[in-house]
Amino acid sequence: MITAEQKPMDEIRQMIAPYKKILAVGCGSCVAECAAGGEKETGALASALRMACKMAGDDKIIHEKTLDRQCVKDFIIQLDDIIKDYDAVLSLGCGAGVQAVAEMFNEIPVIPALNTEFLGETREQGLWVENCLGCGDCMLFYFGGVCPLARCSKQLLNGPCGGSKDGKCEVNPDVPCAWQNIIDRLSNYNALDRLEIIYPPKDWSKKYGSGPRKIIREDQKK
């Protein structure tokens, strides 16, 4: 999923300052799972902003609405009837959600309330970790299901570097060395010979080769 964290309150307040009537729009998908922009967080942020404005003598109107998916047009159309009552949308979607709403409603500013972080997993309650770059050419088979591009600080395809110590990364002792993980996993199922391969330079054209990417599936079109 896509992970995100809420921006600092001051930054949000600065961005919404010029507007009177604001609709806070949450998203019930990834950002709800990472407790940044779901229905609960959207309600909490809207209340906090109302409170802060009231204390500052600012008579802003802040309402909230959470869509099941803020990055899917079929859900965004639910805003069609209500959006005309507001001068700005404060989006608690990920970067894709913010832009999908902006794409659909050209006339109204859409303000991001979150910093979108990474593609990752919920490892445990309150812990999300990055493990995918979305490179467009998955190599996890070769690396024991551990991605060195997303999880090694130097993106080594032929690691580990000289900074791997006691299974930790030199960049941050809280970070496990991805290459230690790769070696451990490959040795668990007798595939250590894959480490002898000299992997050639990554084909980044699948990610950066022709600007922003899109997927077209004729079989999915109506």
Partner: protein, 312 residues
């Protein structure tokens, strides 16, 4: 006139090679480089020129390398993959060769987090092993990544680093093998303080027959103080400084710290000289270039063999 690698000549002759390090300044003054380099003249065969080491912005290694060449020293151009993508790296390999640089050391580079530009994007488009293979293919096949032919191949003696002290130990030797298979002609190791672990590693290296395929230079760094020893043990990634050494440094009075540091270093060089499969030493006297000559002298490495810098 054909430029040659002094390091390569010395190693091919079977002589015990000596290299040292010259860190370019955090400024544009060529005199700083030339002054440091002069201290190394006649004491070493070739001089590593570091590439923005510890991710701190410094004069480019290529420029400093050319300055060294201008006074008749043989530079080893360090090149890290942290700051340049494959287009820039290959272009710089061609440029370095055109400027007469004949040695290159291929490295990943210290992570940008450690330097004075922590907000920089780390490039890491290719890794150090891929860089080795790139230089080798450019030199031996006259081809760049993707197969396009060069109008003239670069001429480089290709080096790589190895850290016998990082984990996992067993894999360290596999990775060295990969570096040699990828193109390394010579290896310079991380600073050796833990000789026992180094011996264990060398044994594994010899078992795999790697010393037959590549020259290995053992890295040493003289300690300046017990504080430095402790700092290296605790704060420098991939360093292994045994407690006995720290105690030994602590056991002498402050005015004798440097002397003791040099003594330890000379003892290490002596051990390396008699170690099977070791072809030379790489003396990294960090901001202490004066120490290189003293260590070389005391370890019986002087005079250095005389090799004409250019030959017809």
């Amino acid at each position: 006139m054909k430029e040659i690698s002094i390091l390569k000549k010395v190693l091919e002759r079977g002589e015990f090679a000596v290299t040292a390090e010259c860190g370019p300044p955090k400024g544009a003054d060529p005199e700083v480089v030339l002054k440091k380099a002069e201290l190394l003249r006649g004491k070493v065969d070739s001089v590593n020129v570091t590439d923005n080491q510890t991710a701190i912005v410094r004069m480019s290694s290529m420029a400093a390398g050319v300055l060294l060449k201008s006074i008749g020293l043989d530079p080893i151009l360090q090149m890290v993959v942290r700051d340049r993508n494959r287009i820039a790296l290959q272009s710089d390999i061609l440029g370095a060769s055109a400027l007469g640089i004949r040695n290159m050391l291929c490295l990943s580079g210290d992570h940008q987090k450690f330097g004075n530009q922590p907000q920089a994007a780390g490039v890491f488009d290719i890794d150090s092993i891929q860089l080795l293979k790139t230089v080798k293919d450019m030199r031996d096949e006259g081809k760049i990544i993707g197969g396009d032919a060069l109008t003239k191949a670069p001429d480089m003696f290709i080096g790589a680093a190895a850290n016998p002290f990082a984990d996992p130990l067993a894999f360290r030797v596999i990775r060295l093998g990969k570096k040699i298979a990828a193109g390394a002609d010579f290896i310079q190791t991380q600073c050796i303080y833990n000789l026992d672990r180094f011996e264990t590693w060398m044994e594994m290296v010899r078992e795999r027959g790697l010393t037959e395929k590549c020259y290995i230079l053992g890295g040493v760094t003289p300690l300046k103080s017990p504080g430095m020893a402790k700092y290296m043990k605790n704060n420098v990634a991939g360093m292994d400084v045994p407690d006995e050494l720290i105690k030994r440094m602590q056991g002498v009075s402050k005015e004798k710290w440097k002397e003791e540091g040099i003594k330890i270093c000379v003892e290490t060089v002596e051990r390396l000289k008699s170690m099977k499969g070791i072809s030379g030493v790489h003396i990294m006297a960090i901001e202490w270039e004066e120490a290189v000559g003293e260590i070389a002298e005391k370890a019986g490495l002087l005079p250095r063999p005389v090799i004409e810098y250019s030959e017809n």
